[in-house]
Amino acid sequence: MIAFFQSSIFVNLAYIFASILFIFGLKMLSSAETAQRGNLVSASGMLIAILVTLAQNEIIAYEYLLIALIGGLIVGVLASSLVKMTSMPELVALFNGFGGIASLLVGVAEFINPSSTTLIQIIAISFTVLIGGITFSGSLVAFGKLSEIISGKPLILFGQRFVLSALLLVALLLVLELIISTGLLNISSQTILFILIGLTLILGVLLTAPIGGADMPVVIALLNSYSGLAASSAGFVINNNVLIVAGALVGASGLILTNIMCKAMNRSLSNVLFGGFGAATASSEGSGQIQGEVKPITAEDAYLILEAANSVLVVPGYGMAVSQAQHVVRELGELLEDNGCEVKYAIHPVAGRMPGHMNVLLAEANVSYDVLAEPDDVNPLMETVDVCIVIGANDVVNPDARENEGSPIYGMPVIEVDRAKTVFILKRSMAAGFAGIDNPLFLKENSRMLFGDAKDSISTLVSEFKS
């Protein structure tokens, strides 16, 4: 009986079953009603894959792997339960990096294992190391930028593209040398592999460092895709279908998300990766003449307008996450609804620092997901909105994207808040947004600036309503 559970036919059938669970799990994750169950389905697929692997008679020693498993379990449980919702982007980036380094290490372990390594495996190992290394160091840089350990500003080195291409070329040559081993370099293949690892780590940093904080949603989605490809590639190293299937699914879903994010900014992927957006600020000249004046408003006056409003649209951005304003925003929304006003939230796909960032924060504050709308849903009805409250969003509401052909963000689909009857803009100061682009919205006739910390401003509004 035990022999059956260790037979390769049983193990492989179990892997197929696990793959099916991953497929269903992912499918269910793409609909709000089934998402939570979908995650459990996918997790049980993972559990099955792990248990079956552990039961295999290929595994002869359990001491090390159990220590590592338990260690990883503890770290994973602690990290996922202790981290605040506002820190979710950096945590996701970090987990992603761990997936990448794990695939890289699987490749390395197989390489230094003296048991025969076929040509195909060597090719697969090279690719696993390449993608895994880039995923790891790239995710660490993304983590650093998101948690503000390092500056979120795009870091452009002189001749970045040239250095990148040169390093990539060297890396590919090393891969070639590993495969055909001409012996020209006169160093052992292990040394070559270690040099390759070093190169991939540098490549990951160089690829991520030039990307500004506002473009982070694209980068995180892309790195997510890479971690899947690394796992898929590791599947070729150990000739295992479940790795290939699961990795390819993740690779595809990551690419879809990346594409959605790029479309939401009306930019191509290569423009995001190499454009160094926000580094060149002197790009808008000519038609970019901005006229008008900034009209500040006090919270008391804002309250009077809100009190009379019949429909309010809240447009959150990264500023809401920074000031942790999501809970008071929900409170204000409820008070407005009690006052007979219709409240909706318009969320731009790239608002915040990761795909769906604002949705997560508002869900944390108990906002029902059916009042969260996408730009395409709210823009046609914008004229009927009495008050738009823009909370720490800037580029995603910039009218220049429609009106000023000279603007770097011209053509980007935005939430057209300037067409609402009144717009409140909650902002700390008049400083330019992350991308460093002027925003004529602030100077429009119907705009009112509510200066100060978003959380404080909304708290004042809430207490006005209560008094």
Partner: protein, 95 residues
């Protein structure tokens, strides 16, 4: 030529899975972008299968050591990824 046949088979699986992936997640509401990403990220921790085999299987001291580190990182990815996704999805409620 055994290994060539195997390679073709594995490539076949790869190509089909990529297409399946694109079809599977074509329409995702933006509310679910983050959970989808972190849930997919947890799935990419499947590399743990390779890590377990490297850590517990036959090998030299160094290959086992490297494999053990791989198990550690992959299990953080798996456990943390699923738990954090679950934590987020629990919050999504319709009133």
């Amino acid at each position: 030529m055994e290994s060539q046949a195997l390679l073709v088979l594995l490539l076949f699986v790869l190509v089909l899975s990529i297409f399946l992936g694109f079809e599977l997640i074509n329409k995702v509401p933006s509310t679910l972008h983050t959970p989808l990403m972190s849930g997919a990220n947890a799935i990419s921790g499947i590399t743990i299968v390779g890590a377990l085999l490297a850590s517990g299987g036959e090998g030299t001291f160094s290959s086992i050591l490297v494999g053990t580190f791989a198990v550690f990182f992959a299990s953080i990815n798996v456990v943390g990824g699923y738990l954090v996704t679950n934590r987020m999805l629990k919050m999504f409620k319709k009133k």
